[in-house]
């Protein structure tokens, strides 16, 4: 009978400790999920795969081509060529190391403390060491895949130019693997300590600010190192001084230098085992240290991280002002914009990125200010061509900002889409609200950036006009692309908004933006160059080519603005969430 559910004591098995599941068992849901949905739920997997492969291939070929040409040039320079190549690799690795540390600190907070599977894992009899191992691997994979993606064509170019041989991929992998593990273990340990020090979920906010300030610091330090000096050996008092600078390790105590050394010494046919030894022993040491800290602090930290979030907020005067300004546009639009603003400024992981943005802009303007564009050897042409380079760089800055702030917009609606979908709100309206909320500040920034740098560059009025027009069109196009790709590659279930831009969709967006900026500049550069040349020579230019160039660029920008949003609206309508 079902009513007699009391189980006699003798039926119960003797009390025993359940064997702890293995590391790979703990990680198996991640593998299975990755296997089941490599590209997200979609009816058109093969189409997307082709798109991924195509854009990825273009990116790889671009990076490889760039490095190939540069390294070939270096190789042709006797004495200092190899030193320059090594220095370049060292600088690249130190930047990657900084990025990896920051990315691991932020990722570790999600994977070790906020992930949804933790309730299950912490409640299950999972050995602490296995939990640490599984979560460390997860953190490493999440934080490092993009670095691996960028490093592959770079290291391939080094291998090809310096004839690394069949064993070169193994050597490169042997250097890269510990280079990825070290920042993961350090980042996880830093997060673990922070979670234990700061109260509860505030840690996430504090971490975001720390991570961003650190990133800003790295950018500033990199700027202060003045890497451009290496490109101008004439600036040094003697060749000996220049060579001695090149020979000095960029940072002898940082693993990035060991990784660069491991690879460069192999390529110079003078393999050095010490760098490998340092890399692997340090990796082992930090993992052991991390595991010990984990055993000591994790249970307490995890418990703390489960406490509830922030409670009180103040009603800002900016919100009231915006509400007043937007009232004529209707209740629905006003409330959508207000909601976007509130969510942005109350989410520390979002607004804190503005700090980094400010530093980037300051460094950018600073760079332009110190460009040697006056004096001997600087022709009229050079002074007028530089604004195009400026436009390209400003375009990249805008694209990375759009990837940070506009691209995640749709993903962040994921869990609340039920509300928007069941209300009489048109998806078109939602997307255009997001477009304007993102584009207006972006445009203001773009105009200030281009205007300020053009004034510093002392460009002609004509070039100023061209720059302002182009950057305006490009801003709309980049914002359109960001929103479109955001809807095409949403990450609805992410636990950390800061991770959305580094998803595959974010990468595809960056690559598409690079292609867009390239196309626009290519279309405009020739006619502008000819026009400026003709004026310089005091002859008539060809207005037809000018119109064609600008017309084409405008069409491309308009298409990149409207087509992605149109596709996004359709995609949102079809979305079933």
């Amino acid at each position: 009978m079902t009513s007699e559910l009391a189980i006699p004591a003798e039926v119960l098995p003797p009390r025993e400790v359940a064997p702890s599941p293995g590391l790979f068992h703990v990680l198996s849901p991640k593998f299975l999920a990755a296997k089941a949905r490599p590209l997200g739920k979609t009816d058109n997997k093969s189409g997307r795969l082709v798109l991924f492969a195509l854009i990825g291939a273009v990116f790889w070929v671009f990076v490889f081509g760039l490095l190939y040409r540069l390294l070939k040039y270096f190789r042709g320079i006797p004495e200092i060529g190899a030193l320059l190549a090594a220095k370049l690799l060292g600088l690249m690795f130190i930047s990657l190391f900084g990025i990896l540390i920051l990315s691991n600190v932020v990722t570790a907070l999600s994977s070790f403390f906020l992930a949804k599977d933790l309730d299950l894992l912490v409640a299950a009899p999972v050995d602490w060491l296995r939990l640490y191992g599984a979560k460390l691997l997860e953190t490493t994979a999440h934080s490092s895949w993009m670095v691996v993606l960028v490093a592959t064509p770079v290291l391939t170019a080094y291998g090809v130019i310096y004839e690394g041989g069949i064993l070169y991929p193994l050597v490169a992998a042997g250097a890269i693997i510990p280079f990825l593990i070290i920042p993961a273990a350090i980042g996880s340990a830093v997060t673990l300590m922070l979670v234990n020090i700061f109260p509860a979920r505030r840690t996430r906010d504090i971490l975001s600010v720390i991570a961003i300030l650190a990133a800003a610091g790295i950018v500033l330090i990199f700027r202060l190192v003045r890497p451009e000096r290496l490109a101008r050996p004439e600036g040094f008092r003697s060749l000996v001084e220049f060579i001695s600078l090149l020979r000095t390790p960029t940072s002898p105590w940082i693993p990035s230098e060991w990784a660069a050394q491991s690879i460069m010494t192999w390529l110079r046919k003078d393999p050095e085992i010490l760098s490998f030894y340092l890399l692997w022993s340090t990796a082992a040491f930090v993992v052991v240290l991390g595991a010990m800290l984990h055993r000591w602090l994790y249970a307490r930290g995890f418990s703390k991280s489960q406490e509830s979030g922030e409670r009180w907020v103040r009603q800002g005067s900016l919100g009231r002002l915006v509400a007043k300004v937007l009232t004529p546009w209707g209740v629905m639009r006003r409330e959508l914009v207000l909601k976007e603003m509130r969510l942005f400024f109350r989410d520390t992981t979002q607004w804190s990125q503005l700090i980094l943005l400010t530093v980037l802009v300051v460094v950018y303007v600073f760079n332009i200010k110190f460009l040697p564009l006056r004096g001997e050897g600087v022709t009229f042409f050079l002074a007028n061509v530089i604004p195009f380079v400026n436009l390209i760089l400003a375009g990249f800055v805008l694209a990375s900002i759009a990837a940070r702030f506009i691209f995640p917009g749709i993903s962040l609606e994921g869990r609340t889409l039920w509300l928007l979908r069941s209300s009489p709100l048109e998806m078109r309206q939602l997307l255009w609200s997001k477009f304007w909320v993102g584009t207006i500040p972006l445009l203001a920034l773009a105009l200030i950036l281009v205007f300020a740098t053009d004034v510093l560059l002392q460009v002609s009025d004509f070039m100023m006009l061209v720059s302002i027009f182009t950057i305006t069109m490009m801003t709309f196009a980049i914002a359109g692309l960001a929103l479109g790709f955001g809807a095409l590659f949403p990450k609805f279930n992410t636990e950390n908004a800061a991770q959305i831009p580094t998803s595959f969709g974010g990468l595809v967006l960056m690559m598409a933006s690079v292609v867009l900026i390239g196309l626009v500049i290519v279309m405009e550069a020739r006619p502008v160059y000819q026009y400026v040349g003709a004026r310089y020579m005091k002859i008539e230019g060809d207005p037809v080519e000018m119109w064609l160039g600008f017309g084409g660029a405008t069409l491309i920008c308009l298409a990149a603005t409207f087509v992605p949003i149109k596709i996004a609206v359709q995609r949102m309508k079809e979305l079933e969430r």
């Binding site: 079902t2 007699e4 559910l5 189980i7 039926v11 509830s308 979030g309 922030e310 409670r311 009180w312 907020v313 209707g330 209740v331 629905m332 006003r334 409330e335 959508l336 207000l338 909601k339 509130r342 969510l343 109350r346 989410d347 869990r415 609340t416 889409l417 039920w418 509300l419 928007l420 979908r421 069941s422 209300s423 009489p424 709100l425 048109e426 079809e574 079933e576 969430r577």
Partner: protein, 251 residues
């Protein structure tokens, strides 16, 4: 009024909802029962305009959802089973935002919002971020948001999950009073006691098809043997009650 005609939803070759015909008139509280995975949530989410039907039509307050979705949705309030809302808005801001989605604002909305929050003992939490709310408090806030714009039709998926006994009682009274005023509510629930005491009519859905529909008396007659709703439910759905619990535990 809610009218479903030949409503079907397929996911690939799997049919989640199979050719459902239902009509819920004004002034009726209609219950939707069925085992897990029977198609209740899919049906309700189609009515809310979140999922697109594979075939069939949905009319809300006489308006075709497919041909005029905005007008139809203007008549609707939806309460989902999982209370996901914007964590970084306060309770009051959330209600104001939802009212705004339906084009409503001003003193009336503010007053309604305060009344609804007071009804569910949330008035002291109005200026606090949703991220500090418990599961039950979020559910109460979502229920309040479904009433803020005074819809004609309310569709509710599992309303009692996470509610304390007092809030559950308030919700029952609110629902009864709401239909007494001529509005329509369609709700799915696993709490048979709630369905039995609250609903005017009940449909039992299984494998995507309506197995039976009618008042408690109708269902009792159909199940031949009477008893409470639990017995009727188990008989009609063919489920084995607490199937061989001893066997399972010994396995």
């Amino acid at each position: 009024m809610i009218e479903l005609k030949n409503l079907t939803k397929k996911y690939g070759s799997f049919t989640a909802v199979d050719n459902i015909d239902l009509s819920v008139p004004d002034g009726e509280l209609f219950g939707f029962l069925g085992p897990n995975g029977a198609g209740k949530t899919t049906t309700l989410r189609m009515i809310a305009g979140i999922l697109q039907p594979t075939a069939g039509s949905i009319h809300l307050a006489g308006i075709d959802l497919a041909s005029d979705p905005l007008a139809a949705k203007s008549q609707l309030g939806f309460i989902p089973d999982r209370p996901f809302i914007y964590e970084k808005l306060t309770g009051s801001e959330f209600l104001r935002f939802v009212a705004g989605l339906y084009g409503q604002d001003g003193d009336k909305v503010e007053h309604r919002g305060r009344e609804l929050m007071a009804l569910f003992d949330l008035e002291e939490w109005g200026d606090e971020l949703v991220e500090s709310y418990s599961h039950g408090m979020r559910q109460k806030l979502i229920i309040s948001s479904a009433f803020i714009h005074r819809p004609q039709v309310i569709v509710v998926d599992e309303p009692m999950v996470g509610l304390d006994p007092k809030a559950a009682r308030i919700l029952k009274d609110l629902f009864r009073e709401y239909v007494r005023r001529g509005h329509t509510i369609m709700m799915s629930t696993h709490t048979l006691e709630v369905a039995e005491t609250l609903c005017d009519r009940i449909a039992i859905i299984q494998h995507g098809k309506i197995r039976s529909v009618g008042t408690i008396q109708d269902l009792r007659a159909e199940a031949t043997g009477g008893g409470g709703l639990e017995e009727i439910f188990l008989k009609l759905t063919g489920e084995r009650a607490a199937r061989d619990a001893m066997e399972v535990l010994d396995a």
